[in-house]
Amino acid sequence: MSGHSHAEGVLPHEPEKATLEGRNKVLGFWLFLGGETVLFGTLFSVFIALRDQVNGGPTANELFSLPVVAAATLILLTSSLTSVFAIQAMHRNQTKATVNWLVVTVLLGLAFLGLEIYEFVEYAHHGHTFAASAFSTSFYSLVGFHGGHVAFGILWISLLIWQVLRRGITLHTAPKVYVAGLYWHFIDVVWVFIFSVVYLMGKVG
């Protein structure tokens, strides 16, 4: 019942871990990310196994344009940083700063998603559609799964922004914001691997 002593007074330093519910949520989410790692690991393996099977379509080297992807990478990495700022602000119990940094994170996420959609449309014009080859199917599945995670994260964090605005930082909202931060870092890490394995390795051969 550790939560009750704090509920009416000051918030503890790490409000996300102050209650058993909060600690459960954080640990459960870490474990969930473990499962997600296997999920993306399998998708990566499939992609690596099939990436040379272009079926007469454009190869990775012909298709990818690194400047756009590098810009997307920069944007997503920055959004990870801003989500850290949001968590730090939350630890200082600054509701407004927390919300502001979360809004910046969501905007950067949207920018990333916009670039990705633009990129996919471009590829489709070059005949690199989902059903074109084993390479294209595995490419869109891997990168698309990541994009889907980004989109889900944007919706989720937006919903949390609304909740923090309505209720402030409490023992109930803090763990939610914290695990959303974990999630955002995770999709960032996955992207680092996508950038290396899909794009950089695609460029060099």
């Binding site: 509920a7 459960n24 499962g35 296997v38 399998t42 989902f130 080859s133 599945s141 209720r167």
Partner: protein, 616 residues
């Protein structure tokens, strides 16, 4: 309590079961639904055996036979035994570690309902006439649209995908529960073996099921959206499916058997009235089996041309698993050695388990020898082997567990005479059915054939096998009669109905009150309740004063979320993408509502606990 405790929401009747987040009720739901699917799978097995009882039989058509074997395997593994395992875990693990509930009661309910609706989706295929027929392993290219056109295999893909969500959620839930919610003094090395098995199994679920998720997504993309993962003509690779399926599939068989090992450890110690022999080596063996389980998937693919080096490595890794399993078998034998054994019905199942599982293990090592496997592969030898481990092993273990914990779950002890009849019919029928199948395989009968010619030397053994299957069916009917007879009796089970309970669940009333422990108990050693009894205490010592107990509110959202996924599944199967989107939208909106609606649950006050405590 000035805050957090608003009006208590309590539902009655059917709505109570649809909205419950209580782990004990969810456990019962798992047992009921799992039992239901188990009966369907069993019926399919009997039909298979009737078709095979004589040469050139035409009881079912070849197509129906393919559907029967596919649905039998899939239903039994994913919808029969796994949910019963989850049911026992839900009912027992929180009680064994001294927790008031699982870590995520809402997610627990969601896990049950996604499993249930996934299973329903899969089995509705019988009513629509488009039944999955590519085997429970659903190998491509057989499962691709080229050879399996029509919605049959799509039911497999989407049904398993939806029910897989439930398994994953359950796995995470038990891991967090066991890590974070053990009672004061319940260190990891004081946990009962069933809890240990649950812990390792949950870890395997967490790390194995996402691979199946990806495999099923890939197969779905190929079948529904023109993807090329497994289409060699567009650069795809059929071996990928086999790898992905077995990277999930081999840990899956340990997901199944480890809980049975846990149950056997509990039952054998209780009825030998002796401390478990080699507890720490049991824990070590469990963890080691879990670890090695991820290293051996390619032993299902020896004949697919991986080459001698890969085959040799996977061969050796597979044989290694015999070592920790052997440790377990000897520990059970040494536990019984010198104990004062009570031959109750759970104990009979446990004693039957040990030699039966050893036989399945021995044929496992035979199959692990890659060169020999070229002979055994895809023959009835394999069918005999895995039924020895899964039916003779796991299902015996589950029967042991269900008979053992029935009074704790339902407050009534199952009838011992009927329980023993169940055991004898089941074990004799089991060995009649499957022992001869090894020899059928060695004689040359392939698995998955719908009939065979006269004069091949298969006739007598197939007849024996069919008679055995019907005998097992009679055993199951005895069990059903037992359940019905028992449920008509009054709830008279005491806290410790077997009188020799060692673990924490036997220290509280049968069935447990909704908050499990009025005061969290203080755990002073391994076999904590036995320890207190030996020191002359009738109850556990409390670790906290009596106070208000926080309870989670019931919710209908998990049910609706799963219905949404069920609708979406139908939409995908019949290419109605608007329906699919609508179903997914229902689920997403429910997720949003769950996030937005702040529900702090309610409190049960000490006065209420004491009023009930007198009765318990």
């Amino acid at each position: 309590m000035a805050h957090g405790s608003h009006a208590v929401k309590r539902y009655k009747g059917i709505l109570d079961w649809l909205t419950t987040v209580d782990h004990k009720k969810i456990g019962i739901l798992y047992l009921l639904a799992g039992g239901f699917f188990f009966l369907i799978g069993g019926l399919e097995a009997i039909l298979i055996r009737i078709q095979l009882w004589k040469p050139m039989n035409d009881f079912v058509s070849p197509d129906t036979f393919n559907e029967l074997i596919t649905m039998h395997g899939t239903t039994m593994i994913f919808l029969g035994v796994m949910p019963v395992i989850f049911g026992l875990m839900n009912c027992i693990v929180p009680l064994q570690i001294g927790a008031r509930d699982v870590a995520f009661p809402f997610v627990n309910a969601l896990g049950f309902w996604t499993f249930f609706f996934g299973g329903l989706l899969l089995n509705i295929s019988w009513l629509t006439g488009h039944v999955p027929d590519a085997g429970w392993t659903s190998y491509v290219p057989l499962a691709s649209t080229t050879f399996s056109n029509g919605p049959g295999v799509d039911y497999y893909v989407l049904g398993l995908q939806i029910s897989g969500i439930g398994s994953l959620l359950g796995g995470i839930n038990f891991l967090v529960t066991i890590i974070n919610m053990r009672a004061p003094g319940m260190s990891f090395m004081r946990m009962p073996m069933f809890t240990w098995a649950t812990f390792v199994t949950s870890l395997l679920i967490l790390l194995a099921f996402p691979a199946l998720t990806v495999g099923l997504v890939a197969l779905m993309f190929d079948r529904l959206f023109g993807g090329n993962f497994f289409d060699p003509s567009a650069g795809g690779n059929i071996m990928l499916w086999e790898h992905i399926f077995w990277i999930f599939g081999h840990p899956e068989v340990y997901i199944l058997i480890l809980p049975a090992f846990g149950i056997i450890s509990e039952v054998v110690t209780t009825f030998s009235r002796k401390r478990l022999f080699g507890y720490s080596s049991m824990v070590f063996a469990t963890v080691l089996i879990g670890f090695l389980g991820f290293m051996v998937w390619a032993h299902h693919m020896f004949t697919s041309g991986l080459g001698p080096v890969a085959n040799a490595l996977f061969s050796i890794a597979t044989m290694l698993i015999a070592v920790p399993t052997g440790i377990k078998v000897f520990n059970w034998l040494f536990t019984m050695w010198g104990g004062s054994i009570k031959f109750t019905s759970p104990m009979l199942f446990a004693i039957g388990f040990i030699p039966t599982f050893v036989m399945g293990g021995v044929t496992g090592v035979m199959l692990a020898a890659a060169p020999a496997d070229y002979q055994y592969h895809d023959s009835y030898f394999v069918v005999g082997h895995f039924h020895y481990t899964i039916v003779g092993g796991l299902v015996s273990g589950l029967f042991a567990g269900v008979h053992y914990w029935w009074p704790k779950i339902f407050g009534r002890k199952l009838n011992e005479t009927l329980g023993k009849l169940t055991f004898w019919f089941f074990i004799i029928g089991f060995h009649l059915t499957f022992f001869v199948q090894h020899f059928l395989g060695l004689t040359g009968m392939q698995r998955r054939i719908y009939t065979y010619l006269d004069g091949m030397g298969f006739n007598e053994m197939n007849l024996i096998s069919t008679i055995g299957a019907i005998t097992m069916g009679v055993g199951v009917i005895f069990f059903l009669i037992n359940v019905i007879v028992t449920s008509a009796k009054p709830r008279t089970a005491t806290n410790d109905p077997w009188e020799d309970g060692r673990t924490l669940e036997w220290a509280i009333s049968s069935p447990a009150p909704e908050y499990n422990f009025a005061q969290l108990p203080l755990i002073r050693g391994y076999d904590c309740y036995w320890k207190e009894k030996m020191e002359g205490n009738r109850e556990m010592q409390p670790a906290e004063p009596l106070g208000p107990i926080h309870m989670p509110s019931p919710s209908i959202l998990p049910f609706i979320m799963s219905v949404g996924l069920f609708i979406a599944g139908f939409g995908f199967i019949y290419h109605q993408h608007i329906v699919a989107a609508a179903g997914l939208a229902v689920t997403l909106i429910c997720m949003m509502l769950r996030s937005v609606i702040e529900d702090h649950g309610y409190h049960i006050e000490p006065e209420e606990i004491q009023a009930k405590g007198v009765k318990a």
